[in-house]
């Protein structure tokens, strides 16, 4: 145990320390304090964690007796989680003030949840993967119910909690069977043991782990909880939990499927991808609530991402990693705009409420348009290259059927995203929906999200190269 061991968990350490400090200061503050200071402290913590990740990238390798492994794969996902946490914290100042929530634990929970998500991407031991998964899940269960007086928020939290724990039990049973099949709980020894032949137990273990993680990433047929939970949870929390924990769960799935070389997953992933894309997009078509619509769209995006899983190793994994990054940025951005517009008690969340937004708040509407276009996959946005790489990886691996399903689905998806844009720009405004001025913090966070979305769409080369390197590190 030497200094490099600590460097290899430095971002997590930073976040834990700041999360604890926030939790400890919170009860000392007077009741009427608006907790903005704690929010700033949390922001500093998440930015320091990003800096620590860059520092950590210079020290690749395993640490803590083969529990964690730092490689470009884990660094990439650390950066996604850190970026999402920082933007969500920035966007929450105004949201909490508008909703009248004066609880500093909110920021502490975001930081501690981020610890779990970051650990999920660097853990190479199933014990640690399980603990990290639970750290991130338990924090998000609480965050989903943070509008305590609103019945829908409590209900959303309850549904998320019950189905999340149900899924965790499946994941654990899968881990137990994998342990029984190989005699180890560490990713690389498992891979070594499976290479000599996989017993039937390993297949069952793989399938059960996929069920557990399928719930976490909201892929069909394990997606039913998503629309309800996203509709009821506070909008900035949805910005966090529809992106960062999902990316982390995809990282775990990549590690188990590729690094541990779990057997017999191809058709499971294929069917889940096709089902997620189709059910997600069809479900989104009929929604009137924007949060619910984006919840169905996030199911569809999980499907596109799984397409990349089914493709061949190197390019498929790098396409999946790139997609996770692009999706995280654009989806978080879209939900942050929704959080600003929702106003007190989240009153304005229907698509009709967005009528005339283009005229009354041109800046906000333009930003939302960028994110929606990126979610469709229009060129010069990150969403375009993400989809392009996923489908070209699928085609290169001769997955013609899956690619056709994916492209048809992207066309269907364009309809419901464009409908929001049409309502914003072409429909007469309803006069009773007020527009609040945009605070600086929110502006900064939205600018960051837009800049990254466009950057990924115009100059994807560097990020893609890094993703490719991550993919190579993963299967090495």
């Amino acid at each position: 145990m030497n200094a490099t061991d600590y460097i290899r968990i430095l971002p997590e350490l930073v976040l834990t320390v700041f999360g604890m400090i926030v939790m400890l200061i919170e009860p000392l503050l007077p009741e009427h304090n608006d907790r903005k200071g704690l929010g700033m402290l949390a922001l500093v913590g998440s930015l320091l964690a990003i800096a620590a990740t860059f520092y950590q990238a210079g020290y690749p390798g395993q640490a803590w007796f083969g529990m964690v492994q730092v490689d470009s794969f884990s660094v990439f996902f650390h950066l996604i989680v850190g970026f999402v946490a920082a933007t969500v914290i920035l966007a929450s100042f105004e949201y909490l003030a508008v909703q009248g929530i004066r609880l500093g634990e909110y920021y502490g929970l975001i930081l501690l949840g981020a610890v779990g998500m970051m650990l999920m991407s660097s853990a190479v031991e199933l014990v640690l993967i399980f603990i990290a998964l639970e750290i991130s899940s338990i924090s998000t269960y609480i965050l989903a119910g943070f509008r305590r007086r609103a019945a829908i928020s409590a209900e959303s939290s309850l549904k998320y909690f019950l189905l999340g724990s149900f899924a965790t039990a499946f994941f654990l049973y899968g881990v137990a069977l994998m342990f029984g099949a190989t005699g180890s709980t560490s990713i690389y020894p498992i891979a070594a043991s499976l290479r000599t032949g996989a017993p039937a137990l390993a297949y069952a273990g793989m399938a059960l782990m996929f069920i557990g993680l399928g719930f976490k990433v909201a892929s069909a047929p394990f997606h039913v909880w998503t629309p309800d939970v996203y509709e009821g949870a506070p909008a900035p929390v949805v910005a966090l939990m529809s992106t960062a924990p999902k990316a982390a769960a995809f990282a775990v799935l990549l590690r188990i499927l590729f690094a541990a070389a779990a057997p017999g997953w191809f058709w499971i992933v294929w069917c889940s991808a096709a089902l997620s894309m189709t059910l997600g997009n069809i479900g989104a078509l009929v929604q009137t609530n924007v949060k619910r619509m984006l919840a169905y769209s996030s199911i569809a995006h999980a499907g596109y991402l799984l397409c990349a899983f089914a493709a061949a190793k190197d390019i498929g994994i790098s396409a999946a990693i790139f997609y996770a990054a692009a999706y995280a940025v654009m989806n978080a951005g879209a939900f942050i705009v929704i959080a600003h517009f929702a106003s007190h008690n989240e009153r304005y969340v229907l698509i009709d409420d967005y009528a005339g937004l283009g005229r009354r708040a041109p800046g906000l509407a333009a930003v939302l348009t960028v994110f929606l276009l990126s979610l469709i996959g229009i060129p010069i946005t990150g969403g375009f290259f993400a989809k392009f790489y996923v489908f070209s990886a699928a085609l290169k691996s001769d997955l013609v059927g899956l690619t056709i399903i994916g492209v048809v689905n992207s066309a269907i998806a364009a309809y419901y995203y464009l409908r929001v844009i049409v309502v914003m720009y072409m429909r007469e405004p309803k006069e009773d929906t007020p527009i609040m001025p945009m605070p600086v913090a929110l502006g900064v966070s939205l600018t960051a999200a837009v800049v990254v979305t466009i950057y990924l769409g115009v100059l994807p080369g560097r990020v893609l190269n890094y993703a490719l390197q991550g993919a190579r590190d993963l299967v090495k």
Binding site: R149, L158, F161, S165, G183
Partner: protein, 100 residues
């Protein structure tokens, strides 16, 4: 000596009971208890495999599962209380503001 398969069958039965209860029961607390039952089925499998492989890591895993289950119970009961405060019912069929 009791063979490994006996333990595995028992653990699968416990897990299946938990799943069946989760899907069929209507009281939130009972549903929560069914999840605990599933976790205990998993624990039994871990211990049985640990004895089979003569490796301690399976038994250590069980400790972590128990600790995490306790943490989950603390948060879960708090969530159930907040649902009861807003809806005054513990029947999942009546916690239905968000259409499923």
């Amino acid at each position: 000596m009791v063979p490994l398969s006996y333990y595995l069958v028992l653990s699968a039965v416990l897990f299946a009971c938990g799943v069946a209860g989760f899907l069929m029961k209507r009281n939130i607390i009972t549903i929560f208890m069914c999840i605990e039952l599933m976790l205990n089925g998993v624990n039994l499998a871990f211990v049985a495999f640990a004895a089979h492989w003569h490796r301690l890591s399976g038994q250590v895993f069980v400790f972590f599962v128990m600790v995490v289950a306790a943490a989950e119970a603390a948060v879960g009961l708090a969530i159930i209380i907040s649902v009861f405060r807003t809806r005054e019912t513990l029947n999942v069929d009546r916690v239905n503001l968000l259409k499923l």
